[in-house]
Symmetry: C4
Subunit: 247 residues, 4 copies
């Protein structure tokens, strides 16, 4: 196979926007997509398997085993429909990342997708209270739209992996692509960054979803994190005392 796309349905979609979030740093994109898939009334559209996924089966919570897979679902909106794309893991080699990104865009093109948003992480190595959202796009028009809606601009750097490639390859197909990057330390799963990118995404596309549950989850994560942090700090202080680093 190399890549096998099982299509479950062939719905008619109105001017659909593709939103992608593959697992990456802080699971920022994956958490956001999983949230959209479960909160919106989404229907499975296609399941993707690939020889280039990690060579393993995953044990699901019900005890069953399953190959790593990617899934595309669709959501019927009021004026505009939505394609959601996420999955278990990115391909294990760079060439396969290109190949799969391109195949997914080819699939999206069959539904006349013209705009593609990917979500990603902007890694700073620092924990922050309110993560910023950075934005980049393949067209100046879309880029300005991001900035007008509160995204921060970047002027250098790279977005690695499929969350970057998909918008780059979209441009080669005549689609517009934008990536929203949520600021994150990169050390832990970070639903707060996911919340931040989705808050911005809501301004950009017709996304009828209440983000409160995700905000709640982010807050709980935050509480947990600060408990862990203060425990760690007190341990370190104790350790430093014990070792005589602090007099």
């Amino acid at each position: 196979m190399t890549i096998r796309i099982k299509v479950w349905e062939k719905p008619l979609l109105r001017d659909p926007v593709l939103v992608c979030g593959l697992p990456g740093s802080g699971y920022v994109a994956k958490i956001a997509l999983d949230f959209l898939v479960s909160e919106l009334k989404s229907s499975p559209l296609a399941t993707i398997y690939s020889y280039s996924f990690p060579p393993q089966v995953l044990i699901r919570s019900d005890g069953s085993a399953e190959l790593s897979k990617h899934e595309i679902s669709y959501v019927k909106g009021q004026s505009q429909d939505l394609l959601l794309y996420t999955g278990d893991a990115q391909p294990v080699n760079p060439q396969a990342e290109y190949e799969l990104s391109d195949r997914v865009l080819e699939f999206a093109a069959e539904f006349n997708v013209r705009r593609v948003f990917t979500l990603a992480a902007y890694i700073t190595g620092q924990f922050v209270k309110t993560p910023r959202v950075f934005g980049t796009a393949t067209s100046q028009e879309l880029f300005r739209l991001l900035i007008q809606n509160g995204a921060n601009a970047m002027s250098e750097g790279t977005i690695t992996g499929m969350n970057g490639l998909i918008i780059g390859l979209a441009a080669l197909r005549g689609m517009e692509g934008a990536c929203l990057l949520g600021e994150t330390s990169g050390y832990v799963m970070d639903p707060k960054a996911s919340y931040a990118v989705l808050s911005l995404l809501k301004k950009l596309i017709n996304l009828d979803v209440d983000l409160t549950p995700l905000e709640e989850r982010a807050r709980q994560g935050e509480v947990l994190r600060s408990i862990l942090e203060s425990m760690k700090k007190s341990t370190e202080t104790q350790l430093e005392r014990d070792l005589g680093y602090i007099s």
Copy 2:
């Protein structure tokens, strides 16, 4: 070639079950399969070579040299026949693990195989007296059968390599797949874990084999291991004394 399958015979098999065990941690699966191949009246069915095997020849005990290879044998049972699949080494790259797993299943499908069992290791880093056997399956029906027969359920984690992939890919072909994982430290060859998984497998399929020789081998291994362990412990204790760690 990439993959070359030399078929030695085209037997008629009754409702055959495929049992797979490729080399992995603790050689749990490989020891079990080698035992079945030698103890059951098995006949060679096919030999598999692949450009993705480790790039080397193996020196056999008679001094001769031979490429790494995989072998499928068959066993005629009373009510149900058996296909046994094992080999010298797993492919050296992930994509080739997928490809070969799928080719072997395609081959098995020609014999109308509907159930596939793989054996594997459940690594704990601990030495145990009586290894548990964990089980997972691609269908709820088969999963329940495993649990009813004493397998422990898992709710997360992965099974890496072909012993995992084969059941995942089997499901895509409409076959049922299950994996039995023998608890093992992961540090040494562990026939005790192999014995444990085969004991469970005997309850699941028509397997007319006396496991006593394997149990004996496991016991000898156990004796050797505890001698080594107590030697190691006494050395460490001595060392700690010498270094003043223990007062």
Copy 3:
């Protein structure tokens, strides 16, 4: 795609020479090529994308995102035309370096290119005032020309990556290839080495370009480097004093 070449124009070129400089140590070749592309009146000829480029998009200075790409431009000269080839990054695997080098030469062959120059770095691990230029070629005739014009000969070693492969593969196509290697420490971006190789290249081909801006840039880099060096030295000395290494 694997490799996609978008051709922008099909100009008639007179006896064109191909000059290549892909990113490598000290960015010697890339700086030189970027300089030629911007200083000469060059026109875009082709843009190259490949699945084997690093799997990422680059953020450009205007905030937009774009796939890694390579570009071939052409320059109309008085007696002889020029093809310039450079790009964002080399392919991520060796086989793809061969494949792309060969494709670019195939493309160049359509314009009847007969001579190919690549630029590269000659790494010494030492900072030097006046970098030497080393030269090698695939024909004795071209090699002598390099030496006559001041290039230093080598008698062993390798030129790794596409800046080496392109001349090796050119020879298999009946073209002549030469590589000019600018001496560099290998530690920093080194426009001085770029200046050195271009100075030699000007003697070898009809290259109507004023290198003064590059020389200026090299001088500024040099000033910056010596400030950094003396700061580093004084810090180290201080550090050594603090630690009592120097009495």
Copy 4:
């Protein structure tokens, strides 16, 4: 291309034997083959290029640059002809080692080669006065011949890389293959081991060559090595004294 074989001539060969030695540990095989190519009246038969060779050009001693390549030469013997196969470097990935080995054997099969000898290193980590030669073969008949002529048998282990693969793949093509492994430390280029394997090879095939020059080269290497060793030893002793390890 992937693999390109340039054939220079199509000689009629009588019952030719293929002797292979690609670069590996201690350059045992490569030194031996280079010696045969230069000492015997050999003619170039084919040059092989591959996208899977190291991605670089080599600077030859005359200052010219050339792609890595492999070469097959032939030698007309009194009763039996010879094919000699060696090259600059082994492919950079395992699958390519299989592929190239198989292509070379396919090429050899066109000349009705029925026996294939490869040379290799038997690494011990120890310097020895008189290196032993180990032997393995793909047929019991050829194996016995090796042992009768003084080769030492092995009963386990692997021969990695093309020097191993070629005999393994030869067996799949119905040819007989044998590998002669010269004992070597693995630390330095070891012409003494090359001398040892060629001395045995001379007994096995019609090889009209005087090994004295190679023996001489080995002796010089030996002298150099013992000088280096005693220098090293005296330095270490001095160092140990300085550090007070020895009282």
